[in-house]
Amino acid sequence: MTTKAHVDRAMLLHLYREMRRIRVFEERCVELYQAEKIRGFLHLYDGQEAVAVGIMQALAPRDAVVATYREHGQAIARGIGTDVLMAEMFGCLEGCCRGRGGSMHIFDRATRFYGGNAIVGGGLPLAVGVALADREFERDAVTACFFGEGAVDEGEFHESVNLAVLWQLPVLFICENNLYSMGTPLELAEAETDIHSKAACYRLPSESVDGMSPLAVLSAATRAVEHIRATGGPYFLECRTYRFRAHSMFDAQGYRTREEVELWRRRDPIPRLASWLLDNGLAEAEELEAIDRAILAEMDAAVAFAENGSLEPVEGLERFVTMEDIPA
């Protein structure tokens, strides 16, 4: 196990590609929402890509992930196919959850993706339990648990963090602090706005990191995962980030100014990494364009896959309400 993330040219290009894949996927989602192919609540990840991508690079396949309703980025970065994701958005049988979950409830057993969760804070107790099972089975696995700073208002945050520390469970708590929970700015919701200090008072090793930098996230996550594997106990990362788009598809954004959004857009991790690669001679413009072309082709294929998807026969409506057996 290396102490530092191994960051070479290939890794940098990989980070770039993964962030771009998420960004383009979300762009397609917006178009398809407007075209009424995707319905329900849709929460997009634009601006926060560095967090999911940086964290996932620090995880191994044996590790587990618990996420929220804003989880397309985590799902893509974890390796769930954009085709089955898009089919899920379309409500198709070919979707990763056979059209029962939709945008907010992505699950994937193969990559140990224990769900999107549309209850703010609802995933934290689950993550503690997954980590407990992993420890009992000696799987040497870390459970990466993503949540927004809004979840910190919830009792489930405090209960779960306490339990993870008390029982010394291998959970990586990742708070994506994008400053707003829907339209409520952090300072209107929390008496103590320094979130990582809250974690610290539960005796949880914690740090805060620039969530607009994939490299900063990757190196912090690498340290954190290493700490968890070495000690068996949890770790807390607050990633300071920003969402560029509305909270969901219905949001007039009266709670923040255009100027503020513009300022944060200047810190967009994707063009920043691109220019850095170009300026430092680590990539040619041509190379990045080729990556982009491949991503556009991937997303075209994902949309086509979803467009050609089938619908679960209505006779199957009640399937999986109760399970006949436990999936192996």
Binding site: R98, G101, L126, G155, E156, E159, M323
Partner: protein
């Protein structure tokens, strides 16, 4: 214990023996909850188990109902077989999000990728002058929720043997132990070593009317049936045992046979399990009913502290007898 002899034990001992069996036979199982270890369980069900099985299998939790129920769900999804004890169903409301939004939904929302094989045990019911916040009967509420199996052992044999199939079930199972039954003694027949968790049981046969009940109301209903027999009324007593999914066939069979039904349910009447059963009778055996279906439910008040008021609020033997007589006289 010699299985050839009928065994006498209390409901509490039966619950404990069931836990001991589960922990012995299912290595992935463990018990967690508030005060289940050092203290021995708030109703002393798990007394001695910490010494016997150690801290890994008997886990004391902080007062964090949502977190430890949710942790049970996550642990079940990742391969363990948790038995979670919530002290009483009153406090399960603090874990309702996890029970209803996670345990009951995730298998379906994940398109069948994850099962949640866990058992949540909790004490339920009134009768000990604990007042409104410690006297709820919420099993009927939980029986409303698709994705859960809801059990209500009303006998020592069910307390003894329902846990094993509950733990083997791939779905989250809620097991409600009535606080007034813990001290009740009963005999387990010599040959009995397992029960199912799918069917209701006719605890007493009868030709004149069907008394349909479960859990803490079962002993009261059986006593009422004995009194009715003295008056020449031959009442059958159906113990539902499983509140979700209901054994509809058994309910319909007894009422088709007798043509009269009284439902006894410690839940409040409005929107109750009793209402559900009554409605199913309307739907499926209207033509066989010789009298309107009657109900004996808890009066619609927060359960009061004072003993006489508490007793007045709960289903009583007298009220069951009364309702049965009225049903016999109707039509």
């Amino acid at each position: 214990m010699n299985a050839a002899q009928p065994r006498r034990m209390t409901y509490r001992e039966a619950c404990r023996q069931a836990l001991r069996d589960a922990l012995n036979t299912e290595p992935r199982s463990f018990l967690m909850g508030e005060d289940v270890g050092l203290y021995g369980g708030c109703y002393a069900v798990s007394k001695g188990l910490l010494e016997e099985f150690g801290e890994r299998r008997i886990r004391d939790t902080p007062l964090s109902e949502s977190a430890f129920v949710g942790a049970g769900i996550g642990a079940a999804m990742a391969g363990l077989r948790p038995i979670v004890e919530i002290m009483t169903c009153n406090f399960s409301l603090l874990a309702l999000d996890q029970i209803m939004n996670s345990a009951a939904t995730l298998p379906h929302m994940s398109g069948g990728q994850f099962a949640i094989p866990m058992v949540i045990r909790m004490a339920t019911g009134a009768g000990r002058q604990l007042a409104a916040q410690h006297s709820h009967s919420l099993e009927g509420w939980y029986a409303h929720i698709p994705g859960l199996r809801v059990l209500a052992p009303g006998t020592v044999e069910d307390a003894r043997y329902m846990l094993a199939p509950a733990l083997a079930d791939p779905n989250p199972v809620l097991l409600f132990e009535h606080i007034m039954l813990y001290n009740a003694e009963g005999e387990i027949p010599a040959k009995l070593s397992a029960v199912d968790i799918t069917t209701a049981r006719l605890r007493r046969t009868g030709d004149d009317l069907s008394l349909i009940t479960y859990g803490g109301s079962l002993p009261k209903t059986l006593e009422a049936a004995t009194r009715l027999a003295e008056e020449g009324i031959d009442a059958a007593v159906l113990d539902l045992r499983v509140l979700r999914p209901l054994d509809e066939a058994a309910i319909l069979a007894t009422v088709r046979h007798t043509g009269r039904a009284v439902i006894v349910d410690e839940g409040w009447r409005s929107g109750s399990l009793a209402a559900e059963i009554g409605m199913r009778l309307m739907e499926h055996c209207f033509d066989r009913l010789q009298a309107p279906v009657a109900r004996v439910c808890t009066r619609e008040v927060p359960i009061p502290y004072a003993a006489h008021l508490e007793q007045a609020a709960l289903p009583s033997v007298e009220a069951i007898v009364e309702a049965a007589r009225a049903t016999m006289e109707a039509a």
